[in-house]
């Protein structure tokens, strides 16, 4: 059996979700826009799923736009917002700790004439709030920040970010990339006070191909996909009732025992580190203390992350060296660089991302495999 420690790249589909999804595929094949009874049944499944999703994320049904995944949601949030609000200052505030879906989207907007403010990170991986306050001295159209960093697990202080925005530029909208949030920490859209939040189904145990963008009432976006006018014209394309159902189900499973599971995952994380210590492995945790326990960026000086990844995969243990979406990059890891981690150490980092499904045995086996690889491969 493989030992899977790459949950932040993709969470396996929960078996219950898969079974229900397959049943939905058989039952709800009609187009939810059709007015015959089968179409209405498909439409009902969408409505129910939307209601359940809204309950879990603590938002209104009509604040949810279902998309194909996190990248589409982020594109819609950023491009859709600035396009719909052309009179706002052509300035976007984001950070050096963002996922490629954000950095590439804002880079594209830069080519269209927008000014970008890239907030520096503190050594703990969070946005530097002094720099943020400084950036808010001038009006901006949009703030887009990651909530839980996908590489380090660092959690940006959304409450303080929203507070500063309210105090200094109350007309500037805030979008948060919440792709790694759900299932890792509690979240309420209503209480967060942000204007938009993106998320992705396959990070919470739904199949790939579905995500969401929450848009607070009163926030206007321009559609980025045009067509039949589904989802209030904001995201055309035939809706996908089985995937919507699977998403709602997965969200429920990912959140219903969240606090219990966070404790379990934190315990697994500390077991891993303590096994490594016991086995005299030289390691350095790069994830900050406030990180969610699910994401552990850890470096083994003298052993390239990629080499360790290969060595572990030969033992059927699966980790990554950073965001899977950027695994083809050959440059230094920009998030670690922004945190001030020396390039040489950053090159020795692997990301171990855990879930409550992992067992203590798996953790022990992983620590032993790491220890063995370090002994064999690091020059003494």
């Amino acid at each position: 059996m493989p030992i899977y420690l790459d949950y932040s790249a993709s969470h396996p589909v929960y078996p219950q979700v898969r079974d229900e999804y397959l049943a939905f595929l058989d039952q709800c094949y009609a187009n939810s826009a059709s007015i015959h009874p089968l179409g209405r049944e498909a439409s009902r499944l969408i409505d129910q799923s939307r209601q359940q999703t809204a309950r879990i994320l603590d938002c209104q049904d009509d604040e949810i736009i279902l998309t194909s995944g996190g990248s589409e949601s982020i594109n819609l949030a950023i491009k859709g917002y600035v396009e719909a609000n052309p009179r706002l200052n052509k300035r976007i505030i984001t950070s050096l700790g963002e996922h490629a879906a954000t950095t590439e989207t804002v880079s594209w907007l830069k080519k269209q004439g927008y000014d970008l403010v890239l907030l520096p990170l503190r050594p703990d991986g969070c946005v530097n709030l002094d720099a943020f306050a400084e950036a808010l001295r001038q009006p901006a159209a949009l703030i887009s920040l990651i909530h839980v960093n996908n590489e380090t697990g660092a959690v940006n202080p959304i409450e303080r970010i929203v507070g500063l925005r309210n105090q200094l530029q109350s007309r500037t909208a805030i979008h948060i990339d919440g792709v790694q949030t759900i299932g890792r920490m509690p979240f309420s859209f209503k209480s967060a006070g942000v204007d938009m939040m993106s998320g992705s189904g396959h990070k919470v145990g739904a199949p790939k191909g579905i995500g969401w963008l929450l848009i607070r009432r009163g926030i206007h976006l321009a559609a980025q996909i045009h067509g039949g006018g589904q989802q209030r014209g904001l995201r055309s394309g035939t809706e996908n009732p089985p995937l919507a159902g699977a998403l709602a189900h997965a969200l429920r499973l990912a959140t219903e025992k969240l606090s219990e599971e966070c404790v379990q995952v934190a315990e697994l994380r500390s077991q891993l580190l303590s096994h490594l210590t016991t086995q005299n492995v030289n390691y350095q945790v790069l994830s900050p203390p406030n990180a969610v326990p699910h994401i552990l960026m850890v470096a083994f000086p003298g052993l390239r992350g990629e080499t360790l990844l290969h060595a572990l995969s030969a033992k059927d243990i699966h980790v990554s060296t950073g965001a899977a979406c950027s695994s083809k990059r050959k440059k230094d890891n920009p998030v670690l660089q922004a945190m001030g981690v020396p390039a040489e150490l950053a090159g020795c980092a692997v990301r171990i991302s855990l879930a409550a499904q992992n067992t203590s045995e798996e953790i022990y086996e992983t620590a032993s495999a790491i220890s063995e690889s370090c002994r064999r491969l690091i020059k003494t």
Binding site: T307, H310, R329, L377
Partner: protein, 397 residues
């Protein structure tokens, strides 16, 4: 309307200069073409008057892959898709006129206006017109038929309509360039050190173009190089096999040797020591598999291990000649060839290759043989070479 058959005419160059060995070269060339075309259908292949005629035995829907396959065979200078007709009424001029019009219609169906000329060759002198007469008659007829689309330009025409009078009539216009060179298999066998970078596949291509049959060796250093790096090299070997024909790739498990070298040798001599080991092992595999030369993608001065001094230190450990066809080429020129032969995109995939693992920050650029020998002092070289020959993996492409 009269029927025609579509066939392919392939021309060869350098072989024609061969003397008594010519037959052997031609047989090898035909054999290589046959093998290359085998997956694409059944063909009758015939050599006549220093040209190769390739006739499909069964109906072929698309000639492009066949043309691409034929022109990728070393030894072929060019190839053309040809219409053959007139088996029964060859000397009836109406036959030639009708088919030429039909052929031109196909050629200009995209629209536009073209300049052209007709160029004829009459091998069978019994035909009622001479070559210049054919040119005049057919050119005039085509101009009359397509007054708006065609005009004559005998110096720089957009296309030439070639007519050949043999036992039947042949017309064609398109000439696709081949990769020239000599048929693979006429220049012995060589063992290519294939790394996964841009250079080594080009080096293999160049030696294959001189008729050399290739085998390749790749040094895999898992986990320093991942499986993706190995798959990349297999893919490169596959792309090389398009030109080189069959190719055997030998994969050496190099990790333990590399670790021993890393722990034993001074950092600034590590790459040289590693390359010397690779040469020794490659030469052993070469000899065991009938290869009488090694081939590398080294280019003088490109990196520290490719200075003259460095090359001398690696050269001496190989008991067989080391061919370095890129030695005098600029990186840009090598890249251009890589793009042309289709290996470039694979080569630049960002996976570690065996040569970049453990690269010293300041390697010695002018190592002496003594430096290399001192670096290896205390190592049981023979034993390490033997270790490298254990667990050899072979991939046939």
């Amino acid at each position: 309307m009269f029927d025609h058959q579509e066939i392919i005419l392939a021309r060869f160059g350098e072989i024609a200069l061969k003397g008594l060995n010519r037959g052997q070269f031609e047989r090898r060339l035909i054999g290589n073409i046959k093998r290359r075309l085998q997956p694409l259908g059944r063909f009758a292949i015939e050599l006549r008057q220093s040209r190769i005629w390739i006739e499909p035995v069964e109906e072929i829907a698309d000639f492009e892959p066949i043309l691409a396959a034929v022109t990728s065979v070393f030894g072929i200078v060019s190839a053309s898709p040809v219409w053959r007709f007139g088996a029964e009424q060859r000397d009836d001029l109406q036959v030639l006129k009708t088919k030429a019009v039909e052929f031109i219609e196909q050629l200009i169906k995209e629209g536009g206006s073209f300049s052209f000329k007709v160029e004829s060759r009459r091998s069978d002198k019994r035909y009622p017109l001479t070559s210049p007469e054919i040119n005049i008659l057919l050119g005039g007829h085509l101009l009359q038929t397509f007054p708006d689309q065609l005009r004559v330009d005998v110096h720089q025409p957009d296309f030439v309509l070639y007519v050949e009078v043999r036992e039947q009539l042949y017309i064609y216009s398109r000439v696709v360039k081949g990769h020239k060179g000599l048929p693979v298999g006429t220049g012995g066998q060589g063992m290519l050190l294939l790394s996964g970078g841009i250079d080594s596949p080009v080096a293999g291509y160049m030696m294959a173009s001189r008729g050399m049959e290739l085998q390749a060796v790749y040094f895999h250093a898992f986990p320093f190089t991942g499986d993706q790096a190995k798959e990349k090299v297999i893919e490169l070997a596959k792309q090389l096999a398009v030109y080189a024909g069959r190719l055997r790739l030998h994969i050496v498990n190099f990790t333990d040797i590399q670790l021993i070298l890393r722990d034993h040798c001074p950092q600034d001599m590590l790459t040289i020591a590693m390359r010397r080991m690779m040469m020794r092992i490659a030469a052993r595999i070469a000899k065991a598999n009938g290869c009488r030369a090694l081939i590398t993608g080294e280019s003088l001065g490109q990196v520290a291990s490719q200075t003259l001094e460095a090359l001398c230190t690696t050269d001496v450990v190989s008991p067989i000649p080391v061919f370095r066809p890129l030695i005098g080429l600029d990186k840009d020129d090598i890249t251009q060839i890589a793009r042309r032969i289709g290996t470039y995109e694979t080569s630049i995939l960002p996976y570690e290759d065996c040569c970049t693992v453990f690269v010293a920050k300041h390697p010695k650029t002018k190592p002496t043989l003594a430096d290399a020998e001192i670096a290896e002092e205390g190592l049981d070289i023979d034993r390490l070479v033997e270790d490298g020959l254990v667990d050899l993996e072979e991939v046939r492409l």
